[in-house]
């Protein structure tokens, strides 16, 4: 399914000639990903964990064609992220971590109808799917302009948007950040259901308990490099429990050869 192989990303400042016009966050080259490799197979939920600045969002942007890697390859089945961007995008559902990304002067339904067609559905199919998904994410009967939505409702709507085309791969960047515990559990259940139906899910999260609970596999990133890749069962085998095992993985100094 999804193969991330030796991906490196170095954020570079623009060339001197363009610097007066193009503003970037870096003045010197900054390595954000260092030789990152992992796989996400069908029916699996892979959790991406790591402290702030570990490179979680960067790798998610590379996978979803929003950022170009400096080196390495990302493939989805036989598709290459750089070469087959259009086909790649037809197979991925994305939930970004930002609270933005929706049209606030449209209702939730209108947002889903619009993005459904942009994702490739006919107008009628988009409307049908919107009705199903509004129900599924608990927004049915609560349709109003998005600027009147709470942060949690916007997250649910983003999740619904990612599911519009029932994509084989679902990529979620901190989807439960603004959700209450009940809604977080509902999202977890929904992801398990999707995985059971054969979807592949890549879930980035700060919440180690959530990752340990929901994910079948965990990839821990620290400083742009993979610190740990293993099954949830391996983490659960730790005497201190899976969450504590993850904390230790993320905070300990890397082993030297």
């Amino acid at each position: 399914m999804l193969h991330v192989d030796h991906v490196t990303k170095v954020y570079k400042p623009p060339p001197p000639l363009l610097r007066p016009f193009v503003r970037t966050a870096v003045k010197e080259p900054v390595p954000a990903l260092k030789d990152v490799s992992f796989q996400v197979e069908r029916g699996n939920i892979v959790g991406l964990v790591g402290p702030n600045g570990a490179g979680k969002t960067t790798i998610i942007r590379v996978i979803t064609t929003l950022l170009t890697a400096t080196s390495g390859t990302v493939t989805l089945d036989d598709l290459h992220v750089d070469r087959d961007g259009y086909e790649f995008r037809r197979r991925i559902g994305l939930v970004l971590s930002e609270d933005r990304g929706l049209y606030w002067r449209l209702t939730g339904r209108q947002n889903l109808d619009f993005f459904g067609v942009m994702a490739g559905l006919s107008r009628a199919a988009a409307k049908r799917r919107t009705t199903e998904l509004m129900e599924e994410v608990g927004l049915a009967g609560r349709d109003k302009l998005v600027f009147g939505y709470s942060a949690g409702m916007r997250t649910r709507l983003s999740l619904a948007r990612a599911l519009l085309i029932d994509p084989p791969l679902l990529v979620l960047d901190e989807p439960t950040r603004s959700l209450d515990p009940v809604a977080t559990r509902e999202v977890g259940d929904m992801l398990r259901g999707l995985a059971a139906r054969g979807h592949a899910v890549l879930l980035s999260s700060h919440r180690l308990d959530e990752v340990a609970d929901v994910c079948t596999k965990v990839v821990a990133l620290v400083g742009g490099a993979v610190r740990f890749e293993g099954t949830a069962a391996e983490l659960a085998a730790d005497q201190a429990g899976p969450t504590e095992a993850l904390v230790r993985l993320l905070t300990q100094e890397p082993k030297t050869a």
Binding site: L18, R42, T58, L66, L96, E98, R100, D113, F115
Partner: protein, 278 residues
């Protein structure tokens, strides 16, 4: 049940353009007071030109144009409004999507860039057409100024070519905005060149000789010359073929170049990671 591995059938390009149009229409309707104000703006602007034409009188520079300064200026307005439509629509769209945080989401969907561009053009184009119709209706109802229908029909292809040229420059602007986020030089230069050098509001013959030469390099010069000859001079289709060919040449060069520029700008933003910045 196993998740599908083959994506569902793709919506047609027109389906996508329709979805963008419905989105823009719904958003525009939510700012209804702005539409109301545009109506008043049209009345006062047309009236201003009417009374300005009384001041200008029948200048020797306007003798070749039927109807004096008022109709001369109205044709100028037709071209400047069309040029602003082409120049501003795409860069304004990029800025709006960046501000809303929806640019990345749109670019992560399987909708191609030219479709997105075409879709975002529909509502602004419809609004400009309505606005221009309003201006001309006000001129007809309140100031008894009418343009020949045949002239309008003959001038339509010229206006479409004008739009194509200015849309190309507008796409260059959008490419610049993708990289710089704010501030691009194309709109300012092209709109000033249209208003000042091409003779939107006064005949080019008033300009010094060297500026008249430069005026020939401005696309709007050919739009204004052609439209005035069919709308105010009573000329036929054959007489504006030269102007149409020049505008077609501008469009043939600018349009593919501008699309390449926008594609490269987005690719560059994907490398620098600045696609979401605003």
């Amino acid at each position: 049940m196993i998740a599908q591995t083959t994506p569902p059938p793709t919506a047609s390009i027109f389906g996508r353009i329709g979805a963008i149009t419905r989105r823009d229409m719904t958003i525009e309707k939510s700012y209804h007071f702005r539409l109301f104000l545009q109506f008043f703006n049209a009345i006062f602007t047309v009236a201003t030109f009417f009374f300005l034409s009384k001041l200008v009188g029948s200048s020797e520079y306007l003798q070749e144009y039927r109807g004096g300064y008022f109709t001369f200026a109205l044709v100028g307005v037709l071209v400047t409004q069309s040029s602003y439509l082409g120049l501003r629509t795409f860069s304004a769209t990029v800025t709006r999507e960046q501000d809303a945080g929806t640019l990345e989401v749109l670019l992560s969907t399987p909708t191609r860039l030219p479709t997105l561009m075409a879709g975002t053009f529909v509502i602004p184009a419809a609004f400009t057409a309505i606005e221009l119709a309003l201006w001309f209706s006000i001129a007809a109802i309140f100031f008894d100024v009418r343009f020949p229908i045949t002239g309008l029909l003959i001038g339509l292809p010229l206006l479409i070519l004008t739009l194509l040229v200015f849309c190309s420059i507008g796409i260059f602007s959008a490419a610049f905005i993708v990289l710089t986020k704010r501030g691009e030089p194309f709109t300012l230069v092209a709109s000033q060149a249209t208003t000042f050098l091409a003779g939107a509001m006064f005949p080019v013959a008033l300009l010094p000789g060297y500026l008249q030469v430069i005026a020939h390099m401005v696309p709007a010069y050919y739009s204004l010359t052609g439209l005035r000859s069919v709308l105010l001079g009573g000329a036929g289709f054959v007489s504006i073929i030269d102007e149409m060919l020049v505008l077609a040449a501008f469009a043939a060069v600018f349009l593919p170049l501008s699309l390449v520029a926008l594609r490269r700008a987005i690719r560059s933003a994907r490398v620098t990671g600045t696609l979401a910045n605003y």
